[in-house]
Amino acid sequence: MLPAHPTSPLVAWSAIAFVAALAIAGEVLIASAMRKIGDLDLVRARHGLLGATRTVLASPTFLAGALCMALNFFAMLYTLSRVDLSLAAPGIASFNYVGNAVAARLFLREDVDRRRWLAVLFVAVGVFLLAR
């Protein structure tokens, strides 16, 4: 359901797709950076909290991911101002879950087995049903 102010379905779904694309890019870049850095608890135990923070912030991949997430945040604000949360949140989340699974398999080389694909699909469908 769209809010009282007029927003065409094309604009609404374009905004939703754009927010999801930025989120997928950001999350995959951050996941890639954290995978290279390793368990933050171990890094913190070895170098302290400041050292761990410095290690994370020194990663260009992490910074690129954080930039995508920052853009995602403002795109999200714009979308929420024009599209009802009940449509925007599940729409973005559903695109996000499926897109992230595909991207994780392709770019992060994660072993997305049948159980994980099922989990992703169940969440995507479940989130959509929650919005009805």
Binding site: D39, L77, A93, Y97, R116, A119, V120, G126
Partner: protein, 154 residues
């Protein structure tokens, strides 16, 4: 125990602290999004000709509280991704959607339709699919990276 051999053997069991991190991801994301939505409803619609309104939104208390929670989300999410796969963290933290629906039903006394209960059932099942399964996997192992007891290459 060092893991070697099959690339799919990179796994580790979560500690209570790591479960706590996943719970923190769930709570901060759910309540952060809810506060942002409430704040933006107060700010009103933003169009391309008045994008500066987005900066004005940063003065709204609900938006500010939402941002604080989402910073917490970002920190805990980043920490989770340092020891778990993206495709593990996503379904494991999807329970936040259920949390919001349950708050709406039992705290705000909103009715929950049959399709919503079905959605809750599906998401809960999805969490069950990844629970007690490997948190970290890889189709390939970089032989130059030593693998720690927790299964994480450092």
């Amino acid at each position: 125990m060092l893991h070697s051999g099959s690339p799919k053997a990179m796994t580790h069991k979560l500690t209570p602290k790591q479960y706590g991190t996943l719970l923190a991801v769930v709570f901060t994301a759910s309540f952060g999004d809810a506060l942002l939505s409430r704040g933006m409803a107060q700010v009103g619609p933003v169009d391309f000709h008045h994008l500066s309104l987005l900066l004005h939104a940063l003065l709204n208390l609900n938006v500010v509280c939402g941002i604080v929670l989402l910073i917490g989300f970002f920190a805990t999410y980043t920490a989770a991704l340092s020891w778990a796969d993206l495709t593990f963290v996503m379904p494991a933290t999807a329970f936040g959607n259920v949390l919001i629906a349950l708050i709406a039903r039992f705290w705000l006394h909103e009715p929950i339709s049959l399709s919503r209960w079905l959605g809750i059932l599906l998401i809960t099942s999805a969490v069950g699919f990844v629970a007690n399964r490997p948190a970290r996997t890889s189709l390939e192992i970089n032989p130059e990276l030593p693998i720690t007891e927790s299964g994480v290459a450092v």
